[in-house]
């Protein structure tokens, strides 16, 4: 069993509410891959995190995660720049289903609000997060490391105690 971290409650709450989410990995040659998630949710126990990616937008990224297991995920609140990065060495990928729809809808509503706070219309959030359910995968992982990435002097510091 790998070590996992317990995130500070306020950051966990921020992630659970639904903020900008970017996923990265890398291939065997250490070439990095990256894409924005169109949804996220936190498991009821607060430990597991699921993010949603469109296959058509994330081919290299999904291939890299499948082959290396390495994943880095950043959550950031646009208006405050409060940012956290989670890392894990294993992740599970499955197709999204109708059962994921409520989480995706909640996420979109939250993001419409979040990017509205920095001056963008609802249409922007919808275009940025557009997806087809049959093109979506759910990527689930348990964070092994967490870092504060809010710009400033504490940026980069490790967060949360191993449990």
């Amino acid at each position: 069993m790998v070590a996992t971290v317990r995130l500070p409650d306020d950051l966990l709450a921020m992630i659970a509410r639904g903020v900008s989410c970017i996923v990265g990995s890398r291939d065997e040659a250490l070439r990095p891959s990256i894409m924005r998630a169109v949804g996220s949710q936190v498991a009821a126990d607060g430990a597991g995190i699921t993010v949603y990616l469109s296959r058509s937008q994330s081919r290299q990224l999904l291939q890299d995660i499948a082959s290396t297991g390495d994943v880095a995920v950043v959550f950031s609140e646009p208006a405050s720049h409060r940012t956290v990065q989670l890392k894990a060495r294993t992740a599970a990928i499955r197709p999204a289903t109708e059962a994921d729809r409520p989480a995706l809808d909640r996420y979109l509503a939250s993001m419409e609000h979040e990017i509205g706070r920095v001056g963008y219309p609802v249409s922007m959030a919808r275009a940025m997060l557009a997806y087809r359910l049959d093109d979506l995968v759910a990527l689930s992982f348990t964070p092994e490391m967490a870092f504060d990435q809010t710009p400033g002097p504490r940026a980069g510091s490790a967060l949360g105690a191993s449990k």
Partner: protein
Amino acid sequence: MSTPLAEIRACLEGAIPAVLATCGADGVPNVAYISQVFHVDDRHVALSFQFFNKTRQNILSNPRATALLLDPRTAAFWRLHIRYLRTESEGPVFESMKAQLAGIASHSGMEGVFRLLGSDIYEVEKLEQVPGDPLPAPPRPAGRLAALRSLSERLARCCALDEALNAVMAVLSDALDMRHAMVLMLDQPAQRLYTVASTGYAISGVGSEIRVGQGVIGVAARERTPVRISHMTNAALYSQAMRSSFERESPDIAPVTEIPYPGLAEPHGQLAVPILSADRLLGVVFVESPQDLRFSYEDEDALVVAAGHLGAAIDLLQSGAESAEGEAAAPAQEDSAPSRGASLQLRHYPANDSVFLDGEYLIKGVAGAILWKLARDHVQQGRTEFSNRELRLDPSLGLPDISDNLEARLLLLQRRLQEHGPHLRIEKTGRGRFRLAVGRPLRLDPA
């Protein structure tokens, strides 16, 4: 590259931060927001290096990185596959980014946190369009090319510097909707820029000066590169509105000799473009706006073209005026209205060649020395007709060298006299020739 980098410049405005994936030598990927992805040329971008962080460590050990960009107008995604080359901490790219970052920091409430340590230069290996469902692109603003055509046509008809400057001011203001604009010329020996033309301000500010390196205008001059801040609620470090009053020169025997700088008190966008010709810096064209996000890359393109045409015109007009200087002077016209009435007092301070008219500061430097010479020749010899050539040959004026733009100095003097009043004027009488029109007898008081 199938899509030229220039096509995605809208994504590089910093309105929506980019995200960068890197990977350490240990194979652990890292994702981080990045304030600035700067368009260097069609094969290179520069990323802002602001903190010694994981991204920094990673690119130094593994130069491959992938940036995710979002078009702030359409929400279209692009991936930029890049390779780190080097870090620059001075020069045009660094200075442009520094000024732009001040705007981004101000826009995002990050003043004091964002500081540019370096410009990380990356080679672009691939630009990848990410499939998606973007919004339709907004229509491209039409008129810019037509506006530049009109400028080109007008400049081609100009026979003197003031006409060329008027043409630029008119096209910027009317056709390009850049309502607040000014042109400053370089005083090379003094390393200062002086305003020769402006539009859209409560005062003309002709004659006001900016030090090379000071603010947006001064940095554009020093680095010979466009500097654009597209959103600056409080980018005070760069705001040209910061008066030069803090620069009280060493105690001078002359009283205050500062012409107020005309700029906006609270600009939200500024763009300064160097005027270059034959690889020499001639001056700066500057525009500003009270609106956020007013100046785009396309505005910068247009202003660079305008400044290029103006630079060529200035050089051509200068050489035209010089070749005409040798021609025989036209017979002096009889003064139809000899000066009369109360005398007009001119006081000259040799320390900085400042000249005061009836106790009011008018001009200093080379233009001040020129006026003092003209006035002396008028009073002592009754002369009114003069040529550029004799000014150039007069050692007492200390004209810097042949490359100095005498036309610009004369235009500055002419405009300052115009603003002062009707009694003393400079009127062009032909190429390289002009008349001192004296409405009241001059009384010369050396200080």
